[in-house]
């Protein structure tokens, strides 16, 4: 029998693990019976670490020690715009680590982002082990197709720290296509339209009997469900300002409420023709009276608010089709992935654009993990077992999403490997020096589509010396770039005459060094992750069983912080009890979004009772999940409630609290553009002029 290898969709908000064997592929539900697990990591007072439902509940009352949306920070430089934006909205501490990396500070400890992601992966590993009844050490992990090398490297490190051998980093849209076409014997051209919380990916693939070839992939890293929320927020805030002269955007508490309401409203529109957004007592007027928002938003109105955003996705689709050498009509199918594609508006617009109905037989939340599982099975198949034949025969040919570039004189970056080139691939180029008797060149590698170096993502730089001294333009340096099947870049330089060579697995400055990874592994970090399960049957790794108490009633007794503003703002009694009990009870349906990171607890406490009431009263308007989830929510909640002793206290309140939670997708969209801002101070720019290129030796 072949080894076991699973597929893990390591999502921004939720993660999902699946396993394939033969023609059977299935999602492995977690201990709560849910197919997706929140990508949230909670650091408890006793030093234990919890991931998933338990952690998500923690977010509510202990946001400072709960980390969500780590994926947004992975592989980023500390000075990047994304990190600045995240800092503005999260309650936990974000600090600068070595090499301009990002560190998260919780309970006096510092963690790198790969470590945070590793904790999520570790939990997914446990989920799989529990379900499969055996140890799992190998996995295919998915990444957004637009992920650059830095982000891929960091994700791979996360796998290692989690104790997983990452067999492959697989692009999410590719995984989706694989799951869609698997075992159907299709010969089709398909587009995968993947609209997530903050990013948009489109891939065009050709599916053969057993080959999946990506023809092109394009994306927009500034476009997702969050932008839809922003439009609604603007609408509400503008109207409120017109009516009351108060700018809600200036009031962080009010803004949080607005964000929450907008996101819930948006989700509502995926089931209903119209939603009513009510925000009682959103802010106090000048005369001390409390002001509220009540606003009905119809699907048509929402559509006009976000139509230009959808148009932007279609521009990207144009590009992808053009790169694939196809027109919309050439496609046999369109596959939708990501939360916002549940909106009828999105489905319809996509249908109009591609001139065909998108496929409805694909679950936008699970399809990526399923595809990863199929690929994982094919990578470990030994081919002896007939049953394995199916998965083993699915063969993937992917492309590199971003052009690989080399920095040259004048602040420019020359393309070495164009985007959408099939991988694995290798290219060599000959370069020359820029100054007489130059002894060293600084080789800088970028990814992106701009000729201007600074507008691309810097992957890394290394110095090359040892080539023969010569007048400028005469020394020769061969630089060889390769991109492997994971999309990971490596570069080596060599002097064709002396044979002197340097090679580097382009290690980015923000990433972890080998030593750091080794230290983390030695510290057994991943083993601190407690298996998150509602009962004691959890497969707890031997090393962690020493502290099983943390799994059970631990969090219930942890006092919720009660900062002053909450007291002033909440006349309702006892919200604290409800919140305290939350970790034990809260079971959300699979579709339920991950809670937003409250920047301060008072916000939550201040508005929770209000919205709770809201949801109870206006089920049809704001109850979002009914009808979209296939998870047996109600039953599960009850079952879980029975298992938990302190259930009675705040059961209702807590369940409502679950409804309240916001998706981390709401975090301000992180943008990539300014990635290298501040570069000047951080990297030695003086070398930029050194590597100058000459594509053939006889040039001078």
């Amino acid at each position: 029998m072949a080894e076991i290898a699973v597929g893990i969709d390591l999502g921004t908000s939720n993660s999902c693990v699946a396993h394939a064997r033969g023609s059977r592929v299935e999602v492995l539900p977690n201990a709560y019976g849910e197919n997706v697990t929140p990508s949230v990591v909670a650091f408890r007072e006793d030093g234990s670490i919890v991931v998933g439902q338990g952690a998500r509940s923690n977010l509510v009352h202990d946001p400072r020690n709960t980390v969500a949306s780590g994926k947004r920070l992975i592989g980023r430089y500390f000075f990047s715009e994304e990190v600045k934006k995240a800092q503005a909205v999260v309650a936990y501490q974000i600090a600068e680590g070595p090499g301009h990396g990002v560190r998260v500070g919780v309970r006096g400890e510092q963690f790198s982002i790969p470590e945070i992601s590793a904790m999520v992966l570790r939990e997914m590993k446990s989920v799989a082990e529990r379900k499969l009844g055996q140890e799992v050490t190998k996995a295919v992990v998915t990444v957004p197709a637009y992920f650059n090398d830095n982000q891929r490297q960091a994700t791979k490190d996360a796998g290692r720290i989690a104790g997983l051998e990452v067999l492959r980093l697989l692009n999410e849209p590719t995984a989706a296509a694989l799951a869609y076409g698997f075992g159907r014997g299709l010969t089709q051209r398909v587009a995968v339209y993947d609209l997530g919380g903050g990013t948009f990916d489109i891939s065009v693939l050709e599916i053969g009997k057993d080959v999946f070839e990506v023809l092109s992939t394009c994306g927009d890293t500034y476009l997702g469900g969050d932008d839809f929320d922003d439009r609604l927020i603007d609408l509400l805030a503008d109207e409120f300002q017109a009516a009351h002269g108060i700018n809600l955007r200036k009031d962080p508490y009010a803004l949080e409420k607005l964000k929450l309401a907008a996101e819930l409203g948006k989700r509502g529109l995926s089931v209903d023709e119209q939603v009513e957004i009510r925000l009682p007592d959103v802010v106090q007027g000048d005369d001390g009276s409390s002001l509220s928002i009540e606003r009905t938003v119809t699907a048509a109105e929402f559509s006009s608010l976000v139509m230009d955003l959808l148009q932007r996705t279609f521009k990207v689709c144009d590009e992808a089709l053009q790169q694939a050498g196809l027109i919309a009509r050439d496609l046999d199918g369109v596959i939708l992935v990501g939360g916002p594609t549940r909106l009828p508006l999105v489905r319809q617009s996509v249908g109009d654009y591609f001139q065909q109905e998108p496929k409805t037989d694909v679950d936008p939340d699970e399809v990526v993990a399923l595809g990863a599982a199929i690929h994982a099975a094919s990578l470990v198949s030994d081919g002896d077992d007939d049953e394995e034949e199916d998965a083993a025969s699915a063969f993937l040919l992917d492309v590199t999403p971003l052009s690989l570039r080399l920095g040259v004189a004048g602040g420019l970056a020359e393309t070495v490997i164009e985007r959408n080139t099939p991988v694995p691939i290798e290219q060599s180029r000959r370069f020359t020096t820029f100054q007489d008797d130059q002894e060293r060149v600084q080789v800088r590698i970028y990814q992106g589509e701009s000729r201007r170096a600074e507008e691309n993502e810097l992957l890394g730089q290394f110095e090359f010396s040892g080539f023969k001294k010569a007048p400028r333009g005469e020394a020769q340096i061969d630089v060889t770039f390769s991109i492997d099947s994971n999309g990971i870049v490596s570069v080596r330089a060599c002097d064709p005459e002396t044979g002197e060579e340097t090679s580097t697995e382009l290690s980015l400055s923000s990433g972890l060094s080998e030593d750091e990874i080794q230290n983390i592994l030695d510290d057994g970090l991943a083993d601190r992750v407690q298996s998150d399960a509602p009962d004691a049957e959890a497969l707890v790794p031997a090393e962690t069983s020493a502290a099983p108490a943390a799994v059970e009633p631990g969090p219930a007794v942890e006092p919720a912080p009660q900062p002053a503003p909450a007291v002033e703002r909440v006349p309702e009694p006892a919200p604290a009890a409800a919140v305290e009990a939350a970790p034990e009870l809260e079971i959300a349906p699979a579709d339920e979004p991950l809670p937003e990171l409250d920047s301060s607890p008072p916000v939550y406490e201040a508005f929770s009772p209000e919205i709770e009431g809201e949801i109870e009263e206006d089920d049809a308007e704001l109850e979002i999940d009914s009808g979209i989830s296939d998870a047996p929510t109600g039953d599960m909640v009850e079952a879980a409630a029975q298992k938990q002793e302190p259930a009675t206290v705040g059961e209702e309140a807590v369940l409502d609290a679950a409804d309240l939670e916001i998706e981390p997708g709401d975090l301000e969209e992180l943008d990539v553009e300014a990635e290298l801002e501040g570069d000047d101070g951080l990297f030695d720019r003086s070398g930029a002029d050194l590597a100058q290129f000459g594509d053939d030796g006889e040039e001078r």
């Binding site: 198949s381 991988v423 290798e426």
Partner: protein
């Protein structure tokens, strides 16, 4: 699943790689159509892709990876009419190069860049070289003069212009500093 290839065969092919043109690599005739290119690419990747050949020793594996990359390169060129045309032209030429850079279309702009950074005309080159020497010496006034001269020969040279701005900025800074000190 295709059985793993014999390691000896893999290593032999890897050694041969630099003598094969893209058509030979893909085992197709030079007049093969696009669908044939694709079919062959699929077949060969299946045969040589590292995913399809596990359990090889390090050396054989790295040979296999080299082959797979070269097959992808051949495919990237031959499936693209623009690149394929450039490649066929090159193959027919005296050089008879067996490989072509995947960004061949960009090669021209790259050459232009080099020219731009060194100068395109003899006089442009000469004055720019002088200006560079002045910059190295820290003689900004002289650098400015020479840059301006260089630009009279190559008024469109963006790189010269960029250097000119840099020198002007540096000079302004130096002036400011002097003024501040004298006060």
């Amino acid at each position: 699943m295709t059985p793993a290839l014999p390691p000896a065969e893999i290593r032999a092919l890897a050694r041969l790689l630099d003598e094969l043109d893209y058509y030979q690599l893909l085992e197709i005739a030079p007049e093969a159509g696009t669908s044939e290119v694709k079919r062959s690419y699929y077949t060969l990747q299946r045969r040589f892709h590292p995913d399809a050949n596990r359990g090889l020793d390090q050396e054989t594996r790295s040979c296999l990876e080299t082959i797979a990359r070269r097959i992808a390169e051949a495919y990237a060129v031959l499936r693209d009419p623009r690149r394929r045309k450039a490649y066929d032209g090159q193959r027919d030429g005296e050089e008879a190069a067996l490989r072509i850079p995947l960004v061949a279309a960009e090669a021209k702009t790259q050459r232009e860049n080099i020219e731009e950074t060194l100068g395109r005309t003899p006089n442009g080159k000469r004055f720019f070289a002088l200006a560079r020497a002045d910059i190295d010496k820290g003689d900004l006034d002289a650098a400015l003069r020479n840059l301006k001269m260089a630009l009279t020969f190559e008024p469109a040279n963006g790189f010269f212009k960029q250097k000119l701005t840099e020198v002007q900025d540096a000079q302004r800074e130096a002036d400011d500093r002097k003024r501040a000190e004298s006060r």
